[in-house]
């Protein structure tokens, strides 16, 4: 499998002297179609790592290569285009544009990318909304949807440009357990279509559904557990959770 994302010797120093080094020469690879999660205690640098390898933030040292392009060498405009065409983002907090309708929020980045006609983009958005079960909200304002529904809107938005990789920062963190399970099922389905996912989470149940779990502590990736592809079978899930739980215990989590 081709490597879609690679971080080499990635370091991040904080502006605040007290916090010191947040990332300490981190190395990481994500293959095409892979579903990777990063776990670790609060303040270990998980989110910082996600934002630095996705180009949302600038690393102090080291390289990030996304689909063959070294992002540190890209101009602001090129980086924006890379984010637009090849990356998708899902956050714990619902970051939607408040003066756009739900449907407009979904199609916006595709209109900017201009890879397809607006008619085709609208069709794809409707398909995605159907798939995520929110088609009835098409013309609604974002104020008229629940947290779980808004997270689905964010997922549709992340998928509209058919990205090569999705970065998800605690995507189920603000949801109840039912909504969280539904969102994870959606992400697994997306992953099965070939889109790589790199996900940050605190939740063992979420991480258990991913292919490979990385453990982060004090700015370092200190452990890795390969679980293999999850086939959406409940029995298998319990076994995966058990294995992961034991491994995390070894990691002092």
């Amino acid at each position: 499998m081709k490597t879609i994302l690679e971080a080499k010797e990635l370091s991040k120093f904080s502006d605040d002297k007290e916090s010191g080094q947040i990332l300490k020469t981190v190395n990481l690879q994500v293959k095409e179609g892979e579903f990777v999660s990063i776990m670790g205690p609060s303040g270990s640098g998980k989110s910082t790592l996600l934002y630095n390898i996705s180009g949302m933030d600038k690393a102090s040292e080291g390289n990030v290569i996304l689909d063959g392009e070294e992002i540190a060498l890209l101009s602001e405009k090129e980086l924006s285009r890379l984010r637009l065409n090849d990356m998708g983002f899902i956050f714990q907090q619902i970051h939607l544009l408040k003066n756009l309708s739900i449907f407009d929020n979904i199609v916006l980045s595709a209109y900017l990318a201009e890879k397809n006609s607006r008619e085709l983009i609208n069709k794809r958005a409707i398909e995605l909304m159907k798939k995520t079960g929110i088609l009835s909200l098409k013309d609604h304002a974002i104020t008229h949807a629940s947290g779980g529904q808004l997270q689905r809107v964010a997922i549709c938005r992340a998928l509209i440009n058919q990205p090569k990789i999705i970065f998800a920062d605690e995507p189920t963190g603000a949801l109840n357990s039912k909504a969280a399970a539904e969102i994870m099922e959606l992400l697994i389905e997306i992953n099965q279509t070939g889109t790589a996912i790199l996900l940050v989470t605190h939740d063992l149940k979420v991480a258990a559904k991913t292919e490979r779990v990385l453990y982060m502590l004090d700015g370092n990736l200190v452990g890795e557990k390969k679980l293999g592809k999850y086939q959406l079978i409940n029995k298998e899930l319990r076994e995966r959770e058990e294995v992961l739980s034991q491994w995390l215990a070894k990691m002092d989590f």
Binding site: Y51, E76, S80, H95, L97, K98, S109, A141, R157
Partner: protein, 779 residues
């Protein structure tokens, strides 16, 4: 704790703090200077009137008087404290030579008179506001001439009467509480008692000022009424203490009020900006406010935290503004110091501007407090739920993006935002309209005054050449020679000789006044008339706009004019615009002898194949020293200084408007970027580049600017044109129509504003690069 928060906040938002400071600072300087000026003006006027012992009531009279009768009446009147009758010896301006110029006051509209120092009151003062005492051969010249002709002590003043010449040396400049202002068309020159006696033997024309000081000035109206009812002389206008005050204070008063008005405009902008800043900060801190409320922090304390920053900015800016105004105020009171003299400094000089600056501070803080009332509307739950995005907008249904197939997305987002938040852009719209107006009106007027059609406002018709023959001993003979030459010149298509004479006209108050009347055939080079037509019969006369206003004559009215020693009734045939000769001219075709003509004019048109510049050169040589000019040259010569001043004013106006538009745009964009920080971070996270987002802001501002330019241009060409006409009606042109240079007015000016706003927006939106979604999540 409060100090720590404050210091951190001020450091974090240096640019917005700086701009807010600047606005309040400028407003404080201007209001302190303006109020300081008004306070100083009243004090200085009172001081001058006290030192000069200005009369409370003055009756001007031309003609015989019975001094004894007046004195008796005054002695028996219970309201009269003092009375004196001042005789003024009047001479024609053509007989007066001032300073090194040594040219008579031909074009002057002033009534010039010679007086001696008064004995009991109405003293004529020097520049130190002290009584002037002159020796023989010395003269004290009114300040008006000192300023106008840059006269110096030691310069000479001569009176010529035929071959006789009496010369005086300027020893003082004279401050006259009755006739100081330039708008008073009478000026008193002071000479010694001996010289006055000498002049009295030469000058036969005199006028009287019958002056009264009252025991109680509050009874002025009663006194005025009793004087009118008495049989005492009244062959001239009546003036009183209040009129002297208004006339003396008008110029400075208008300037002070203008300064205060500008400062109020600035403070309104400052307060609007303060409101925007506070709202943006509240929006930014929405969640924190929710958290603080949830953990039970007192709302009054939270308000105090937010208010303290603006208290510091407003207090520092007002205080600095006040201090700087103390340094600036002498610049604003320079003219006042010359004409009125400044009253000795006292606590009021410092107190009034201080109170004004304090009011600016109080106004700012009151507006901040009102804006901060929004605090009470923030519910803790709502704030925590909405989080960083702040209050939810209601504009989602306006202009749905997905229904639009063709418009570029950045343009669409910009238009949608304008539709959603139109009210926010209103301030910018108004400022841009004002900027466009201030920029285009002077540009259009400069172009108008530059165009040859401006001749319409100068009381002359369009002709190829104009020959002016000024006063000299052999003027009449040379005029005849020039006419003979022109009559024989085959290159001349048509010509008309015109003679300008100063004649006596019966004024609106029944008093005889001087008026310059141009006589000759007016039909060859006709004028455009505001009302009526050119004079076609010998009993008709056309009046300039200002003359018609002052003489209160309209078309069809009868005017009495003294022509060749006889009173003549003339019908006003038309009213035209004329800014030359103080705006007071007239045109008639009645025959008159050419003796005592002020000057001669010949207007002529040349045959089509004749080169005008060549002919002009020929005439200049042949008719020397007569002035030969084409219309452009005449305009340049007559209005050269005005055009230069207007050009400077136009440049200043352009620089100021560009400065204001840059300043306001910077401030506005910086604030709206702060307000939109979370939305911009989201846009960047989904692939919008910095340029895309900056482009959206540029589109929004340019759309507002474009609408404002259209509105501002329409206003400039309507209201602006009327404004200029109203301004110039004081000089004689009541209906000015702009001659617009479309390249300047419709391309260059908007282009300058467009460039200024575009560049400013791009620079001010660079901070969007700092709006990172990672930081939003970290919060």
């Amino acid at each position: 704790m409060l100090l720590k928060i404050l210091r951190r906040d001020l450091q974090k938002k240096k640019s917005i703090t700086g701009v807010l400071f600047l606005f309040v600072f400028l407003a404080a300087i201007l209001i302190a200077c303006g109020t300081g000026m008004i306070s100083k003006l009243f004090q200085s006027m009172d001081y001058l009137f006290m030192k000069a012992e200005t009369p409370h009531f003055v009756q001007m009279h031309a003609g015989e008087i019975n001094k004894q009768e007046i004195e008796e009446w005054a002695m028996n009147h219970p309201l009269v404290s003092k009375q004196q009758t001042v005789e003024m010896l009047n001479i024609d301006g053509t007989k007066l030579l001032l300073g090194n110029k040594q040219e008579p006051e031909i074009n002057s509209v002033m009534d010039i008179s010679f007086v001696k120092q008064n004995d009991t009151f109405d003293y004529l003062l020097d520049l130190e506001n002290e009584l002037i005492h002159l020796s023989s051969g010395e003269i004290a010249v009114p300040i008006y001439y000192m300023v106008r002709d840059h006269l110096q002590i030691g310069d000479e003043v001569s009176i010529i009467n035929g071959t006789e010449r009496i010369t005086f040396t300027i020893s003082h400049f004279l401050r006259d509480s009755l006739m100081n202002p330039s708008m008073v068309h009478s000026k008193r020159f002071l000479v010694s008692d001996e010289d006055y006696q000498l002049l009295n033997t030469h000058i036969k024309e005199s006028e009287y000022l019958i002056e009264f000081l009252l025991t109680d000035i509050k009874q002025l109206n009663n006194f005025s009424q009793s004087y009118q009812e008495s049989p005492l002389p009244s062959g001239g206008p009546t003036l009183d203490y209040q009129t002297f005050k208004i006339l003396n204070g008008l110029t400075e008063g208008i300037l002070a009020v203008t300064i205060i008005f500008i400062s109020l405009l600035l403070i309104v902008i400052a307060v609007l900006c303060l409101r925007l800043t506070i709202l943006a900060t509240l929006e930014e801190d929405y969640r924190e406010i929710g958290v603080m409320k949830a953990i039970g922090i007192n709302q009054a304390y939270m308000k105090k935290i937010y208010l303290s920053k603006y208290v510091v900015i407003a207090a520092a800016a007002s205080m600095f503004g006040y201090l700087v105004s103390l340094w600036f105020s002498p610049l604003f009171t320079q003219n006042m110091a010359t004409y009125l003299g400044l009253a000795p400094r006292n606590i009021v000089d410092y107190g009034t501007p201080f109170v004004a600056a304090l009011l600016i501070y109080i106004f700012c803080i009151a507006c901040c407090r009102m804006t901060l009332r929004k605090f009470s509307h923030i519910s803790a739950v709502e704030a925590l739920r909405a989080g960083k995005t702040g209050s939810i907008s209601k504009g989602q249904s306006i202009l749905p993006i997905y229904k639009n197939r063709f418009v570029p997305i950045n343009l669409l987002l910009a238009i949608k935002d304008l539709c959603n938040r139109g009210r926010i852009y209103l301030l910018l719209f108004v400022v841009y309209i004002i900027c466009t107006f201030i920029m285009i009106v002077p540009v259009n007027f400069l172009n108008t005054i530059h165009s040859s059609s401006f001749i319409t406002y100068m009381g002359i018709g369009q002709s190829d050449l104009r020959i002016d023959l000024q006063q000299s001993e052999d003027m009449s003979a040379r005029f005849g020679e020039i006419l003979t030459y022109i009559e024989k010149d085959a290159d001349v298509e048509k010509f008309t000789p015109l003679v300008v004479k100063r004649l006596k006209v019966v004024g609106s108050d029944g008093r005889l006044e001087n008026m310059n009347v141009e006589t000759g055939d007016m039909s060859l080079f006709p004028l455009e008339y505001l009302k009526g037509n050119l004079p076609k019969k010998e009993n008709e006369i056309a009046l300039s706009y200002l003359n018609s206003e002052e003489l209160k004559k309209d078309v069809g009215d009868i005017l009495q004019l003294e022509v060749d020693g006889k009173m003549k009734d003339l019908i006003v045939s038309g009213i035209y615009q004329d800014i030359t000769n103080g705006g007071r001219t007239a045109k008639a075709i009645f025959p008159t002898n050419h003796e005592q003509a002020l000057w001669y004019v010949i207007s002529l048109n040349l045959m089509n194949d004749v080169d005008v510049p060549d002919k002009m050169q020929e005439y200049l040589k042949v008719f020397h020293p007569a002035k030969v000019t084409d219309i452009k040259g005449y305009l340049a010569e007559t209005l050269g200084d005005t055009i230069e001043q207007l050009r400077l004013l136009t440049i200043i106006a352009i620089v100021i408007t560009l400065g204001i538009s840059i300043l306001i745009s910077t401030l506005f964009v910086k604030m709206i970027v702060v307000k939109d920080s979370s939305q911009n971070a989201i846009l960047r996270s989904i692939g919008f580049s910095l340029r895309d987002i900056q482009g959206q802001y540029v589109i929004r501002l340019l759309a507002v600017l474009f609408a404002a330019i259209i509105s501002g241009t329409i206003l400039a060409n309507t209201v602006g044109q009327n404004f200029v006409s109203a301004l110039w009606s004081m000089m004689g042109a009541a209906r000015i129509e702009f001659v617009i240079n479309p390249v300047h007015a419709y391309l260059l000016c908007p282009f300058l504003l467009l460039v200024a706003v575009t560049v400013t927006t791009f620079i001010s939106t660079n901070s969007i690069a700092n709006n990172k979604i990672s930081e939003m999540n970290a919060d």
